[in-house]
């Protein structure tokens, strides 16, 4: 873990075949394991030094577990996590504790992740004391002041407690705490989703500024596609524990290749009525299947509007490179991109797969009790 860089490339973080499975226990007398929730099931990714990797997906897709497993906050079941050439997944005890200095985390809920009984000074100096850094009391005090300055908080906040701050300020404290040890890698799990929109932008800008100034590498985990695109260089899309697509941010948003990415993108409302009325909408049928019992073949096939009769149901697609830097795991990615295949409506998918979808008879029952009391059909202007 000295200055020897990773082989050939300048990737600060490499994840190879990472799996995190949680056992499902059952039984009264014996803890029998009856199955596994495959939260993360074989993920490979690489984050070059100084760049930002964005991880998106819906709740339950395993993105947070992946982030935690990289930091060894969750024990990986299989696979390797190479941080600067060292396999973090195999480290134990003191070397692991030392390694953690260099990788830090910013959590989603800023109030829940800050000790309510510690004031800001104590919160920020604790990591330094724990690692024996900072050069004594005077050195630590100076360092803490510098940190507050870096995240844009007044130095008067030192004596105050987390509940005295607003949501945005608390998240700044969370970021400052993660920065105390001058880490190389910062994993941010939903850093802005608990904040009001007008404050989100402040925190996003702050993250950008800090990266520029300190040369940080980020892994940003979020469900908001617009936020992720805004700060990421490369974006990975997760579905049910595995990556379905990875691409440079611009490319991904201009031309999403995987059917799931396309529908995810089309589901995000845009704050502009003109765009809203004209944009393509792909409604997905049903909910996310259970990760304890994922569908066979392509995991997305139960909801996919482009599902084909062959291959999708029984053959697991691999993540393959379609164009430079663009990885996608779909058997039919080329055909979908070229417009050879056309999507089916959510109703059709639901009918063939037997899953739920929005109102099937919405138009047909206009004469029943739901419209009593209204004489003429109402036209929307």
């Amino acid at each position: 873990m000295t200055a020897v860089p990773a082989v050939s490339t300048d990737d600060l973080l490499r994840v190879e075949g990472l799996k995190v499975h949680f056992p499902i226990k059952s039984g009264i007398f014996f803890d029998r394991t009856v199955g596994h929730v495959k939260a993360v099931d074989g993920v490979d990714l690489a984050v070059p030094r100084g760049s930002t990797y964005g991880l998106v997906g819906e709740s339950g897709c395993g993105k947070s577990t992946l982030g935690r497993a990289i930091l060894r906050l969750e024990e990986p079941t299989a696979g390797r996590v190479l941080f600067d050439g060292t396999d973090v997944a195999a480290l134990k005890g003191e070397p692991l504790r030392h390694m953690r200095q260099r990788m830090q985390m910013v959590f989603q809920d800023p109030l829940g992740s800050l000790d309510p009984r510690q004031n800001v000074e104590s919160l920020l100096s604790e990591p330094l004391r724990a690692h024996g850094l900072g050069g004594g009391t005077a050195g630590i005090a100076e360092k803490v002041r510098g940190l507050l300055d870096a995240v844009g908080l007044p130095s008067a906040s030192l004596r105050r407690y987390p509940h005295e701050f607003s949501g945005g300020q608390r998240q700044r404290i969370g970021i400052a705490r993660a920065l105390t040890l001058e880490p190389d890698l910062l994993i941010a799990d939903e850093p802005v989703s608990a904040l009001d929109v007008s404050v989100q932008a402040q925190v996003l800008n702050l993250l950008g500024e800090l990266q520029e100034r300190l040369g940080l590498t980020y892994l940003v985990i979020a469900h908001d596609l617009a936020v992720v695109r805004h700060i990421s260089d490369v974006v990975g899309v997760m579905y049910l524990g595995s990556l379905v697509e990875q691409a440079p941010a611009d490319g991904l948003y201009e031309e999403p290749l995987h059917p799931y990415t396309r529908s995810l993108m089309s589901a995000v409302p845009v704050p502009d009525p003109v765009v809203e009325e004209s944009r393509e909408r792909i409604l997905l049928a049903g909910d996310l299947p259970s990760p304890a019992n994922p569908p066979s073949g392509c995991r997305f096939h139960t909801r996919c509007p482009w599902r084909q009769e062959t291959r999708c149901d029984d053959e697991v697609p691999v993540l393959r490179e379609l164009a430079p830097g663009r990885l996608v795991s779909c058997h039919w990615a080329e055909e979908i991109r070229d417009g050879v295949l056309h999507p089916k409506s959510a109703e059709e998918v639901a009918a063939t797969m037997g899953v739920d979808v929005r109102g099937t008879g919405a138009g047909a029952i206009e004469t029943d009790a739901l419209v009593q009391g209204i004489d003429a059909p109402i036209e929307r202007t």
């Binding site: 007008s198 995810l264 409302p269 944009r279 909910d287 979808v357 029952i365 109402i378 202007t381």
Partner: protein, 351 residues
């Protein structure tokens, strides 16, 4: 006061006039959460109440439904539902209206369903209360309602408990309950905030269909400008308990006049603009407000603020004034647009 502009030409279902809600606690200064809010909704119309947390949008909806506790809460002004005054109406009358003629969908579907009662019982409860039905008929009707909101295999679901349903399905079940008696007015308080985007798209599509099919008046309460842009006909932007801008959705997003609205639009990253467009956040946080009696509550965070935004300089509280056809604005120094707007993008003109 607030006339229905641009909406369908029928009498409004709901008229709210100068509604104010004050919370008092012994030994503390009272808080005015809603401060003179007026709006109206016509049948088949969807209006949006937009604002950040703490701006009073949810309290407004609770006051309209008469769901605020009576102790320590002072509600003044007028809420007329089909011409009938609701403020000060008897509990009995409100009860007969709630669930039957006006219904509400809440944000968190898990905590607004009773976890110990089967879905079927919860849906039929409304039907048995407000429509003279036998239990058997009600069960039939409930299954039909669940089917209508897109829950598969509704008969089986009627026998299940809320925890057995996914988040999206719970929200659908709540919407089914709200629709049970074909209400004239539906208030949806952040109905999609707790849901994933793909499920959110399904629920929004469902609400959109409902308004078109049944002519229900819909009041949509949300903080998400994207949801508003796709769903609402008219939008009211709230800040610190007051409506600060009202406009047709096209006008609002094309030419926001209040610096707060403009700031909100400029601070959200969007999927349809180029990457790397810098975000222009609004300074400070929602805590940095001043009471409306002292001046414009947004003034401490506003880039356009000048001396006369304060009451002591101008001598009057900033009024909500006519601002072109179909628009109302509460601002002394609004954003201006020198030439005719070229496109509908709000980002360019916001600063």
């Amino acid at each position: 006061m607030s006339s229905v502009l641009g909406g369908p030409a029928s009498a409004p279902v709901l008229e709210v006039d100068d509604l104010a809600v004050t919370f008092t606690r012994r030994g503390e200064k009272s808080t005015r959460a809603v401060d003179g809010v007026s709006f109206a909704v016509a049948p088949g119309e969807t209006i949006g109440l937009v604002g950040e947390s703490g701006c009073g949008k949810s309290v407004t909806s609770l006051a309209v439904m008469g769901l605020l506790p009576s102790r320590g809460v002072d509600v003044t002004g007028s809420v007329r539902f089909n011409g009938q005054e609701l403020i000060g109406a008897s509990d009995q009358m409100l009860r007969s209206l709630r669930g039957a003629d006006m219904a509400m969908v809440f944000q968190d579907p898990l905590s607004s369903l009773n976890p110990t009662v089967r879905i079927g019982t919860q849906v039929t409860e409304v039907l048995l209360e407000h429509r003279e039905m036998s239990k058997k008929q009600a069960a039939e009707e409930a299954a039909e309602l669940l089917d209508r909101v897109g829950i598969p295999d509704p008969r089986r679901r009627l026998d299940e408990y809320p925890h057995q349903l996914s988040g999206g399905m719970r929200q659908r079940a709540l919407i089914a309950m709200a629709l049970a008696c074909s209400p004239r007015l539906l208030i949806a308080d952040e109905p999609t905030t707790a849901l994933d985007v793909t499920i959110q798209a399904q629920i929004l599509e469902l609400l959109r269909d409902l308004v078109v099919d049944t002519g229900t008046a819909l009041v949509m309460i949300t903080h998400d400008l994207g949801v508003v842009a796709g769903l609402c006909d008219r939008v009211h932007v709230m800040y610190a308990g007051k409506i600060i801008e009202t406009a047709d959705r096209h006008d609002l997003f094309a030419r926001p006049r209040q610096p707060y609205t403009g700031g909100l639009l400029a601070s959200v990253p969007r999927l349809d603009t180029g990457r790397g467009t810098p975000l222009t956040p609004i300074r400070g946080s929602a805590r940095d407000t001043i009471p409306w009696e002292q001046g414009c509550a947004f003034a401490p965070r506003c880039d356009n603020a000048q001396d006369d935004c304060l009451t002591e300089v101008s001598g009057s509280i900033v009024p909500l004034e006519y601002d072109g056809p179909g628009r109302e604005l509460r601002c002394r120094h609004p954003l201006t647009y020198p030439q005719a707007p070229a496109g509908a993008t709000a980002l360019g003109g916001a600063r």
